[in-house]
């Protein structure tokens, strides 16, 4: 009898689950999912206003996605197919969402649109919107290349020389040691960003700057323990273990170490400007500078958010009309005027809308000059994850943490990570 009961239970459940399915309707509204941030709000308004001017008959419904736990919301909506027509997206979602057909490839739309010039957008940045250089799954919002912020007041108090475009990491370390000795403050903020998705944007440039790489050119051999790669990791880890100039992993400043004035520099994308400028009055003087050089030249990371057309969009052309305005001069200068980003269009490189913005930062064009130093995250083949998530990011992050905490040498830690990742890639 119990078995019968269980059976009835199951049948009822499935019957209920099968009830109702969304039926297609004529497009009368467009759903726009975004985040609530003062820095982005003006851009949201611009996109909506522009679209309403073109299509007054269509209602735009704005849905704000709470900033915390964005990933859970997004993946759940993606799984159920309930994502809005136009969605806010970040670089880390591009590849999984593109491969899962959650977002629409806008490349044909962009090419077919005479009012849109894809070639005006910086190439390296567009790489974050593509899968292995193919397709266009996100319009990025800003030329989001990691650049050096520095606390001018702290440098001057310590009597350290101010950063110049010619700086090497040796100059950087020397200045930071002076700051540490005089003020007791750290230099390299954010603990290397290990708990974040974007950790690679701090570390991988060190590897590239020493002539190393995470993956050999054959695309299958992991090279975490090649001499050049190890040298890069070692230089990075030395900031903690040898020189003590980096914010220790267990040092919680109660906020961003740079913003609260406990770390002399921060390597970050332009959006941090808006957070710094929210401090009223400004507690210290600060500015930005292009990143210092490694032995092999200047390298830095990138990371951006943007907007995409979701595969749910009932009318992708309509959604494209909405999204493409993000890459217009109008929207780009609005982002810049809120200090939420710097223009991603070559045509705006010397536009007064960016060059004449009130300080700080005095040297805002450093973001653009630094732009060409931005590199993409290494793309790994197969099912072992990426630098954002999965086993590969896990292994390298754990190895770095062990090396920074002194639990293990850089070489031992990377040998192990190399072995584990290689085993996964080969299986």
């Amino acid at each position: 009898m119990l078995k019968l009961k269980v059976l009835v239970v199951l049948i009822l459940t499935f019957a209920l689950m099968a009830i109702g399915a969304a039926n297609a309707q004529e497009v009368t509204e467009i759903r726009f999912g975004t985040i609530n941030d003062p820095a982005v709000e003006r851009v949201n308004q611009l996109l909506v206003e522009n679209f309403q001017a073109l299509h007054p008959e269509i209602e735009v419904k704005v849905e704000y996605i709470p900033g915390a736990d964005l990933v859970t919301t997004y993946t759940t909506q993606a799984a159920a197919g309930t994502l809005p027509d136009v969605i806010w997206l970040a670089d880390l979602f591009v590849v999984p969402f593109a491969q899962g057909n959650i977002v629409y490839d806008m490349q044909p739309l962009a090419e077919g649109d005479t009012n849109f010039d894809l070639s005006d957008i910086y190439d390296n940045l567009l790489g974050l919107s593509r899968v292995n250089g193919e397709g266009l799954y996100m319009i990025p919002s800003s030329y989001d290349v990691v650049t050096m912020y520095y606390n001018k007041t702290m440098f001057e108090t310590a009597g350290a020389p101010l950063p110049t475009p010619e700086w090497t990491w040796v100059d950087y370390t020397a200045a930071c040691k002076t700051i540490l000795d005089v003020t007791g403050n750290y230099c390299f903020a954010n603990g290397g960003g290990l708990p974040t998705f974007e950790w690679w944007a701090w570390v991988v440039p060190f590897v590239a700057g020493h002539g190393g790489s995470l993956l050999a050119e054959d695309g299958t051999t992991v090279t975490l323990n090649s001499p050049e790669t190890l040298a890069g990791f070692q230089a990075y880890v030395d900031m903690w273990t040898k020189d003590g100039i980096a914010q220790p992993l267990d040092f919680d400043a109660g906020g961003n170490c740079f913003v609260v004035g406990k770390c002399a520099t921060a390597f970050f994308i332009p959006g941090l400007m808006s957070a710094l400028r929210a401090l009223e009055p400004q507690p210290f003087e600060w500015d930005v500078q292009v990143v210092p050089s490694h032995p092999q030249g200047k390298f830095t990371g990138m990371g951006t958010y943007g907007y995409a057309v979701s595969a749910n969009a009932q009318n992708p052309e309509l959604a494209w009309e909405f999204v493409k305005h993000l890459a217009s001069a109008d929207a780009q200068l609005a982002i810049a005027s809120n200090y939420a980003g710097t223009p991603l269009l070559r045509s705006l490189r010397e536009d007064p809308g960016i060059t004449d913005l009130a300080a700080p930062p005095e040297n805002i064009t450093a973001f653009i000059e630094n732009g060409e130093n931005g590199i993409l995250p290494t793309a790994f083949p197969g099912e072992c994850g990426s630098l954002y998530a999965g086993q590969i990011s896990q292994e390298i992050k754990d190895a770095l943490e062990a090396a920074i905490l002194g639990v293990s040498s850089v070489e031992d830690a990377m040998n192990m990570a190399n072995e584990n990742i290689q085993a996964c890639l080969s299986s």
């Binding site: 209920l16 099968a18 709470p66 859970t72 941090l272």
Partner: protein
Amino acid sequence: MSAASARPAVLRIQSDAAHRRRKQVGIGTVYALLIAGSLMFMLPLIIMVATSFKSFNEINSYPPTFLPKEWFPNNYPDAWTYQNTNFPRWTANTLLIVAATLPGVVITSSLCAYGFARLKFPGRRLWFLLVLASIMLPPQVTLIPLYILFFRLGWLNTFLPLIVPAWFGGGALNIFLLRQFYMQIPRELDEAAIIDGANHLTIWWRIYVPLSRPALVSVALLTVLGIWNDFFGPLIYLTSPDNYTLALGLNMFQGLFLTRTDYIMAISTLMVLPMVIMFLLAQRYIVQGFVTSGLK
């Protein structure tokens, strides 16, 4: 409390358990412990309230301060009127969900608990185990199928996914808790009532509900608190800002580059106030219960 007169003296419940035992310890020691403990347990709240009165610059300075250097009450109006927020509406939404959920939880969990505690029928143990099993599987892996189920029902972006399931037993923990309390009530009582011709519904309502008041009030308190602070449920099911709850609305202060900790703390303080009042009132109610019985 109509059943009160009928129950034998040994059943006088709601007495002060440890009262006499502790008398020799001395009332001074009890107060000392209560005050020391209160200070310790109030600490997180004190920090929260203190932070809500700090300026944004003070919050973003090193080292952090314990009490505000300068009191800054403007955070409250500023937070309440922050861009794209609608706290009056979100308060109303939250209250609506509480009002629609609470009776369902208390009534149905109590009924089910009575069934499991007092009635013998085939399948009782199995169903009880299934009830418990439902909270043993990590909810992260049932989230997507459940979401799809509500999607198919057309309930997304409505309060229904947050309200309706509560009317189906009110949660495994509440059923289990009340079952434990009901099993503790001596059977002589319901057997006497059955001889008098009462049915189980009457016994439940006239004997078990009044006698388990401390437990029922606790269930109600924890239910209200749970809904008030529930973040993950609304996060997944409510998409349009018009339908947000307070706990979800708090997240509007977490931006891409900028988190308004000052505003989070201000709204949190406002959110905590009604809960503190509710706890105070409810505690008085429970305390009063055993004080009056002590007079008998």
